[in-house]
């Protein structure tokens, strides 16, 4: 049976989770109908607030997310969880093992968990993830937790798309230092030392506290450092409170609106960029023109810069 978009959308609006799931897939796979679908859903987005949870592997993010989702449910919020894991650069496949740990909420009607693979293009992932969030948003979800492994550039971008970003670290020596190196200090709105019952937790907290003191206060928010023991659910209530506090501040300060505008702009620019290139590729047979220019440059009769200028003029026509 070919995908019947109208039927699927109808069931989606009726709250059918299978339809939700299938639409997420259409979007994730860049199915020809996905632009239409995203377009249709767009006006129904804007309600859901996104919480990013990132940190090195083994930090206990998934367990923390599981507990966090419980807290959100206690607030009668509908929750969506998007767990992103890296695609293997060698095989193109991925092992998505985050949902395993979300045992408290995996049968909760008010929680929807979706595992996503980065599929190779770290930059691209950010958009795809955002689009999946839009679908969840349109479905009626109040809070979306996006869990990523925070070690690469791409992951940082995903994290930036979140309204509130939680960085999860563990007390093991060097973890905090790694975090600073990886740029996580810049994007974190809330820092968590998980497995804080382990040795070195106090030291790690102090290190983070002092590092954060040097950071300028952004929009009236000083990032706190919290301690949790996710496996036992310790400290999660406090974490949830802080997240809600931060989200509230973003809303009341108008920051959310500002970011939404930035995001819309970036989205339009991105779509345009892609479409323009697509168009030029098709329309002007850009590929072949570029090949010709490469020959010129290697022959010494042009430079990459001159070539690009000349091609631009071509396209402009």
């Amino acid at each position: 049976m070919p995908v019947e978009i109208e039927g699927l959308l109808k069931r989606f609006w009726e709250g059918d989770r299978v339809a939700l799931s299938r639409i997420i897939s259409l979007v994730e796979n860049g199915h020809p109908s996905s632009l239409f679908v995203l377009d249709t859903l767009y006006q129904h987005t804007g309600k859901a607030l996104r919480v990013g949870v990132t940190g090195p592997p083994g930090a206990g993010k998934s367990t923390l997310v599981d507990h966090l989702a419980c807290q959100m449910r206690a607030n009668a919020h509908k929750v969506g969880i998007v767990a992103v894991d890296p695609t293997s650069p060698f095989s193109g496949g991925a092992l998505l093992g985050d949902r395993v740990r979300m045992t408290s909420v995996n049968l909760d009607e008010g929680v929807f968990i979706r595992s996503m693979a980065s599929r190779g293009s770290p930059g691209g992932v950010a958009w795809k993830t955002l689009e999946v969030c839009e679908v969840l948003d349109a479905f009626g979800v109040d809070r979306i937790i996006v869990e990523t492994v925070g070690v690469g550039q791409g992951e940082l971008e995903i994290a930036e798309e979140a309204h509130s970003t939680v960085v999860v670290l563990v007390p093991e020596s060097g973890d905090s230092v790694q975090a600073m190196k990886a740029g996580l200090m810049e994007i974190g709105d809330i820092f968590v030392i998980n497995k804080s019952d382990r040795e070195g937790a106090d030291v790690a907290k102090r290190m983070l506290d002092s590092a954060l003191e040097l950071k300028p206060v952004k929009n009236g928010w000083r990032p706190p450092v919290l301690s949790t023991v996710a496996l036992e659910g310790k400290g999660v209530e406090e974490l949830h409170r802080k997240i809600e506090e931060h989200l509230k501040l973003l809303v009341t300060s108008g920051n959310i609106e500002h970011r939404r505008r930035e995001c819309i702009k970036a989205k339009i620019v991105d779509i345009l960029k892609n479409r323009i290139i697509e168009f030029a590729w098709e329309h002007n047979k850009l590929n072949r023109l570029i090949d010709a220019e490469v020959v010129s440059v290697t022959a010494g009769s042009s430079t990459p810069y001159k070539s690009a200028e000349s091609l631009l003029r071509e396209i402009g026509q």
Binding site: S21, N29, S88, N106, L107, R114
Partner: protein
């Protein structure tokens, strides 16, 4: 970009032997598929719900404890009840030949017993996927 095959590898029931399930999961990843592993001690309800949320193309069930005749058909039943009837359901573990036929009737398309090469499993899934309608989604 090539459409990735999504597979759920699940351990229904109380059986804690996950060597095979994990080896298969790793092998399918190495074959370019996206594998969601459910972990141990899953009820059929948890498995069906995960299959729905992850919109998988394939559900792989592994049991070595002899409880397959109850648990595998139950998963298939639940999938159907949720309106999912186009996924491939396969199984593995300790399953005597006589049960394989019964399971096929209950909707488990293929059983990969001990000694099944993971390359065979990956190829089977690929072939099925190519000719299934899910490939166009």
């Amino acid at each position: 970009m090539e459409r990735k095959v999504r597979v759920l590898v699940a351990k229904p029931g109380l059986d804690g032997h996950d060597r095979g399930a994990k080896v298969v999961a790793s092998a399918l990843r190495d074959a370019g598929m996206e594998v969601i592993y459910t972990g141990l001690h899953q009820t059929p309800e948890m498995i069906a719900e995960a299959a729905v949320q992850e919109d998988v193309d394939v559900v792989g069930l592994s049991i070595l404890s002899g409880a397959h005749m109850t648990l595998f058909p139950r998963v298939v039943q639940l999938l159907k009840a949720k309106g999912v009837d186009d996924v491939l359901v396969v199984g593995g573990g300790i399953i005597p030949e006589a049960d394989v036929k019964e399971l096929a009737k209950a909707g488990v398309a293929r059983v990969f017993g001990p000694g099944s090469p993971t390359t065979e499993i990956a190829a089977y899934i690929r072939d099925w996927f190519k000719s299934s309608e899910r490939a166009s989604v």
